[in-house]
Symmetry: C2
Subunit: 382 residues, 2 copies
């Protein structure tokens, strides 16, 4: 079976399209990545997405139209990745699309009930490509009382799960999050939570003190020394050692937080501040492992993915803090870190077509397992 | 096969739920209406729908939450109609839902592209009932270049089409619209268009001059006399004799139009004004038949449905204008006028499950026939 997975994240860096071959099915599912592209989002559409996400600036006419525009953009991403691979659209079995999240209400808030909204009309994608589309994965988990996220633990279990060793998948995006896959072979034993900041603080500090959008390879931090007083202070943030399940975001480790620490430690050298927040990020991860993972699971390996996997200083710090565990990056294992989420949705879409459950209630909080997603048939009957 | 069809119109009178049995399939599809209810829309939800439809007052958080709230409301409508029929949800094969239209852009307008948006999350309906849901019928027709409306001609062809006689289905809702089904047995020969005002002007005049929300049985109009000068003036409206395909709405025959005619003819008696706008509505229908239907099709019968079918004065006028054609109401034929649209979506949903085309390009303007709708599997695998 051949499929294209589509992912367009909230960072708006582009539309990820992964063309994959699905080999076997079930616990033995193997995925072969054939081609991967990230399609730029045109500036005017990016602007419309930002407006559509905004409580005050959004409006129904804009959202109605943007849903269709994104359908066309996602169709182009499918066409482009197939063209690059010289793979005919006619040989695609299905497309799995996450859509663009424009709003997410994990918990009741005033008159707003728990709900989530991803747009990028699947009918447009199906019509433009002639291929069946699986979409809207998050809503059914929320119908079952879950938060609709994270959905990746299922694909991580399928791709990385092993009966030989227990492993953890540590993603370092803006936020750090971990999925723990014990070697029981039972998806019910999988658990996941946010460890704390990922690149969010490092990037922001880097931008303000070094004028660079991120610390490439961790080179700025490598020149600094960790300041222990500041580190202890940062580590006292209540999120770090609060018990899972837990999730965090820009509300806790965003600009406001960075404003405060930069003001408080302005007497330190820039390199030292960056080294310290990099160590803070490393230790927020390692301390969560020590407290909440190693006590439960005999962990042998950590696989690091996301942009943070490229920060060598951060990786070095994490290895120092967890000396007895093998730490590798996703790319070292031969898995594309960039294509990870687009591939995850192919795996979820395949489960939908097989009428199989694919949420992980221990990760999302759902009361039961459900079949995720809906199916838009190819409009031209192939 | 058993199914519930759900319809919630823009008038917000309630959620229509029709429990039906589908007998046979294809050109011989027969539908037996087992039970029908209209569930009230709670006042707060009605308010949220109105806000969500409004360009200035709508916002993404409201729409995100309302999509789920309507999912729960629609689920309740399914449960209620099954309960009233003492029919177990477990025996339902599928649910077909139109959703609540919150926006529709039939043609490009500035930066807004042709698109349409119906909400009422199918995942919620599928989870709450345990039944497979077919939804979002209009989007695929728009993907194929159509206006996404009208979709009823397909079900009208299935239900009323006959090789013996050519018939017309005249719906009189706010707007009047006709579907013509020639006796060729070929759906490609079906055509449809808006004839002009339906109850829109009558209701508005009735409200302002008689303080009643509509002219029950046409009793107020029956006491008046048609004023010929006024009638000729009204009939000069350019829409009436403009060539199909054509569609109209509140922009042309809404409050502003009524303001103008009431001002211009304020010297007339209220009964006479109402009789005249009732005759105008009748003649806008009959003149369209004479000019655009009878010249093409040897029409034997007109079936009248929608709220206007209850207005006896209006019906009498139409009969006078078209003396050689048999005119009956849907209810006289044994078809529920109220349940018509909810049943239409069961028929469309059934086509989706059979991977069969169900738009009528000659009615919507689509460039080709397509399979409409998407399928949300029952989340609990039945």
């Amino acid at each position: 079976m051949y499929s294209v997975g589509l992912m367009s994240g909230t960072s708006l860096d582009g539309v990820d399209a992964a063309l994959v071959e699905i080999i076997d099915y079930g616990i033995d599912t193997k995925i072969k990545l054939m081609e991967f592209i990230t399609l730029d989002i045109p500036r005017d559409i990016k602007e419309e997405i930002k407006l559509s996400c905004h409580e005050e600036k959004s409006s129904v006419d804009l959202i109605c139209s943007l849903n269709f525009k994104l359908g066309y953009l996602f169709s182009n991403a499918v066409k482009e990745v197939c063209k690059k691979a010289k793979f005919s659209l006619e040989n695609l079995d299905f497309i799995a699309t996450h859509g663009q999240t424009i709003y997410h209400i994990p918990k009741k808030r005033g008159s707003l009930i728990p709900s989530t909204m991803q747009i990028g009309e699947p009918a447009i994608i199906a019509y433009e490509t002639g291929v069946k589309v699986i979409s809207n994965f998050r809503v059914m988990d929320m119908a079952a009382g879950g938060e609709g996220a994270p959905l990746v633990p299922f694909s991580e279990f399928v791709l990385y799960g092993s009966r030989e060793e227990s492993i953890a998948l540590q993603n370092i995006g803006g936020i750090g999050n971990v999925t723990v896959i014990p070697n029981t072979g039972n998806i019910n034993d999988v658990f996941a939570f946010d460890t704390g900041p990922g690149n969010m603080i490092i990037d922001d500090v880097c931008q303000r003190l070094f004028g660079a959008s991120y610390d490439e390879d961790g080179k700025f931090a490598s020149k600094g020394m960790v300041n222990n007083t500041m580190l202890i202070d940062l580590m006292s943030h209540p999120y770090i050692l609060s018990k899972p399940p837990k999730s965090t975001g820009r509300e806790e480790f965003g600009q406001k937080y960075v404003d405060e620490i930069l003001e408080k430690y302005k007497m330190l050298k820039s390199e030292d501040i960056l080294a310290t927040v990099t160590m803070f990020t490393a230790k927020s991860i390692s301390e969560n492992y020590k407290k909440f993972i190693l006590s439960k699971v005999n962990l042998k390996k950590i696989v690091i993915g996301g942009g943070g996997a490229h920060n060598k200083t951060l990786l070095k710090y994490i290895k120092e803090e967890l000396p007895n565990i093998k730490i590798v990056t996703q790319d070292e294992l031969g898995f594309s870190s960039d294509a990870k989420e687009a591939i995850a949705f192919v795996i979820l879409g395949n489960e939908t077509l097989n009428e199989s459950f694919s949420n992980v209630p221990s990760a999302t909080g759902a009361t039961n397992k459900v079949i995720l997603g809906n199916i838009t048939p190819s409009p031209i009957r192939r």
